[in-house]
Symmetry: C2
Subunit: 321 residues, 2 copies
């Protein structure tokens, strides 16, 4: 049996507002968000589709958490603090109450962890796969959100965490390794670097999250800032779990640079801010590594290998089509 | 041939930002919206799914316009002025550039008509039907958005335009009457009552748009305001085109009250404001009719027929599941 829409909203989704006045109890046509003087509202949206961005076999709470986290990561990349989200839940007839309850539980868990409330949404049926969109709202002090277009030649390139884990985790998930695999876990429940992003607000000249792949996302910074970049392959942080899978093989190392879904932050800062960047990394207990440098020239990311060769990879990351 | 995502964004969607700084050229992780002192931000979101909320045979520009208009209608029902939207475009492999160009042209046309810009979005593929979500942002003077929960017993009930046209249009559209049919047109391109909604801000005690059906949406006002309502069947505004289809048959008239997709405004106001309400209707050249009254008691909508019988319809409107 499936609940009707209004019952579904009242039982599962109204609690996710956390009693937030701005949601108007999910009983109105819109949410009403008072302005907060001195802040900008930072808004992003991401869609996850069953069979493309998550697998049918994944638990609904895991899917819910990834849905929130990929959106949280976009705010982190702007240095914004999340406060609310809107949910578009589009589901086929096969989805039952049990799935929906687990889904709501996953949202609840991560809402609490990251301090945001549901303010509105839309629930519709489909003849196709489960399709989930979240539009997330955060805030940053007026004029201080970190964009992609302000990096300069000479800036250092940094990245948080390790690169390539999620890309290695996905095929393992497809092969049925659902639990207790650190690479699968990294794919399923990424760690949006919200606190790190916030503290980098006055240090980073440009920032993006690694969703399409490190080369692609750094490439977006280069395009927006009209600079080139050179990465040191030996400096790319690789987890022990990833190293155990790929070894030290150069083509495999290069492939990590084009694998997506890590949701780490790649950002730039002038050399004189490097120690402040590392202090912020320490403060948030987030590994941050210097991996390269920007130079003037075309918006191309070059990779320097351990023996000094310079490679311009042909493929830079995940293509959506 | 299908364009890649980034090319698609640059060619079709960046122009839809209208050069709005807040969109950051669609090249960043998020949009950044400065606050406007003295205003609340009013946010709503709606999803349309091919085969459920629109038909595959409909032109892409018509689908785009309906997508914006159903969202605009939610803002109208709050008395908010729209300024921006975010788009989640989820499309199967069969969608070609021609469809996408027409879709963007439809968005462009209605953006200009209603004064809003695209600020961000996400484009993804799907194995299922075209799935479109818009999250729309408007503004209302602080604390003055019109909610559903402030209606009082004794308030009059008003509705804009005519009721039931879209519900009669949909089966005609399914039967292949695509053009030059006024009822089909009412379904395809509804008229969000944005200006009327704004001018009702200080007159209406509660307001909703008629998306699920007049009885259902007035019922939502009754639930939120803890009142009952009685409608006069003879007072319900019915278009000549609808009258030509259904005649004066009472069951058919009643069925108009439960048919959705009209996107008219149903609202309440105390009797002493009736003349001011009708003046606003005149000013915006929008037909507005008084159709009933709220009373104390359970949140039920009763319909009084021409011969004085009182009916409580069992079905009140479109059920999403």
């Amino acid at each position: 049996m499936r609940r009707g829409e209004f019952d579904l909203i009242a039982k599962l989704f109204t609690p996710l507002t956390g009693g937030d006045d701005r949601a108007l109890g999910l009983m109105d046509d819109s949410a009403v968000i008072p302005q907060k003087r001195g802040f900008d509202t930072v808004v992003s949206t991401d869609t996850l589709v069953e069979g493309i961005h998550f697998l049918k076999i994944e638990p609904a709470d895991v899917i819910a958490r990834r849905l929130l986290r990929v959106n949280l990561s976009d705010l982190a990349a702007m240095g914004a603090v999340p406060f609310a989200y809107f949910l578009n839940l589009t589901i086929p007839a096969g989805i039952d109450d049990n799935w929906l309850e687990k889904f709501a539980a996953g949202l609840q868990a991560d809402q609490e962890e990251f301090g945001l409330n549901l303010l509105g949404g839309d629930t519709t049926k489909t003849t196709g796969p489960v399709t989930l969109s979240v539009t997330i709202c955060g805030e940053a002090p007026a004029g201080r959100a970190v964009c992609r277009g302000n990096a300069c030649p000479g800036d250092l390139v940094f990245v948080s965490g390790t690169i390539g884990d999620a890309g290695l985790g996905l095929p393992r998930l497809r092969a049925g390794k659902v639990d207790d695999d650190i690479l699968v876990r990294r794919y399923q429940i990424p760690e949006p670097r919200v606190e790190l992003g916030t503290l980098l607000r006055d240090l980073a000249t440009a920032m993006a999250d690694v969703s399409d792949g490190l080369l692609a996302d750094l490439g977006h910074i280069c395009t927006a800032s009209a600079t080139g970049a050179t990465l040191e392959l030996a400096a790319i942080p690789v987890s022990d779990a990833a190293r155990a899978v790929i070894g030290d093989n150069e083509p495999d190392l290069l492939s990590l640079l084009t694998s997506g879904d890590d949701y780490e932050l790649v950002f730039t800062a002038p050399p004189e801010r490097a120690s402040a960047v590392l202090a912020v990394a320490d403060k948030t207990a987030t590994p941050v590594h210097e991996i390269g440098r920007l130079q003037s020239g075309p918006a191309i990311v070059t990779v320097r290998t351990g023996d000094g060769r310079e490679i311009i990879p042909e493929t830079t990351g995940y293509r959506h089509f």
